[in-house]
Symmetry: C2
Subunit: 235 residues, 2 copies
DNA sequence: CAGTGGTCTAGACCACCAC
DNA sequence: TGGTGGTCTAGACCACTGG
């Protein structure tokens, strides 16, 4: 029914958040406290909280509690702005953490996408990115080092776009993008410090050079509540 | 824990679906049956099923049961193909149902976006679209009738793009797109016959004529599991 | 260590669907 | 009308976080 109890609770918090009585980042009372206040069991309280999470209004930190979600950042792939740039332009503090970096032989799949021989060495980069201290995405990047000799010796927690421009006089140009709304696979959820199975946004991006060679392949998993995609198509 | 019981159940069904032992559209056993078979309570069974739903592997029809999700359709806004065309090209059977159609005065918001006076008559169109009998999206469209005189007398469960081309010699050209992963608001969930609060994909699209006038504003709510967005950016 | 969320049990009643 | 999912109660134990 439309007037179920968890829905009441949902509306209650939704209104508080909309009115900004509960501000971004605020911690909600514990599930048990909420249950006591509204005379509901934890199961029912959690139903409401989980729905609010699906709406993107609140989020949880593993065993730490529930928090009000900050505004989503707008991502415009056509702008060719780096993460650092578009986040800070929108008033957030970006941060990138390198989780892993290594030169490794290309798998069949990557080799095929890159148009190179299988087992050709490529640079693999695994990063986690934050907005205002909150981890919002993890990404796995496969870089075509044939086109970018020496890149593996660079500092790779910075913006790749900037590095390409400064060191190699290359610019991001053409790209193929795939967006899919799905739940976060457990590896991504773990890296983001959230429980697996939560909603997320998956992005695949292939960046090309001006002569149509594959520069880089990027797989990103975002918290679903952290980003809005905006694109202008002009023929 | 990684080895919680609902996760076991999740993996069990995930494997069956991946192997296609459970085919698209198949109904799962009832929650009580699953619980009996695995010696679990319904709460636990539902936890697993809800996670599989978030992953997009299964979906539910209100009080009818759980079903295996069919493959997602690929939507490429830059292709300027109509829904009917890209769905059928990908092997699905598209269907559009008109829920409502009326000429009405523009709200302040719509008027501003369209660059017209408030209260100017516009055509409002509310449709539901299906793939293989399954409702996958609802859309609300606001059409600038100043640019399209007489359009309100046309049959509007067909493709708008085609109508524009044939009757008005207009083509979709430039557009602004916003994608957001969020839960379905209750009106959209009801129209799609699913329980409110489920994950969904929200799309806002503004279509322009070649002389930069707003032709149409479109708000779509998709089932999150029914679509993948694919875009190629070529400068 | 106390308190939190994460997981789970064993029931219950209701609204709705298909037969 | 019997079976389904939707909602809910009143507990419980565990793993982890924070002070």
């Amino acid at each position: 029914m439309l007037n179920s109890q968890y829905r009441h609770l949902q509306t209650y918090f939704k209104d508080l958040i909309r009115q900004k009585t509960l501000k971004a980042g605020t911690k909600l009372p514990s599930e048990r406290e909420i249950g006591e206040q509204f005379k509901l069991t934890r199961v029912t309280v959690r139903q409401a909280l989980q729905n609010l999470e699906a709406e993107g209004l609140i989020y949880r930190q593993n065993r730490r509690g529930w928090f009000v979600t900050p505004p989503a950042v707008i991502y415009d792939p056509a702008s060719h702005l780096s993460f650092n740039l578009y986040v800070s332009k929108q008033g957030g503090i970006p941060h990138t953490e390198k989780l892993m970096q290594q030169v490794e032989p290309a798998t069949a799949e990557i080799a095929q996408l890159m148009g190179i021989q299988e087992h050709t060495p490529i640079l693999f980069l695994h990063r986690r990115r934050y907005i205002d201290q909150r981890p919002v995405l993890i990404e796995k990047i496969y870089i075509n080092i044939d086109l970018l000799p020496g890149i593996e010796k660079e500092e790779l927690s910075q913006s790749l776009g900037q590095l390409l421009k400064q060191k190699y006089q290359l610019e991001y140009r053409d790209m193929d993008l795939v967006f899919k709304s799905t739940s976060l696979p457990s590896h991504a959820a773990n890296d983001l410090g959230i429980s697996a199975g939560q909603a997320g946004l998956h992005i695949e991006r292939i960046n090309y050079t001006s002569d149509k060679k594959v520069l880089e392949i990027d797989y990103e998993f975002w918290r679903h509540d952290a980003m809005t995609i905006k694109i202008s198509l002009r023929d």
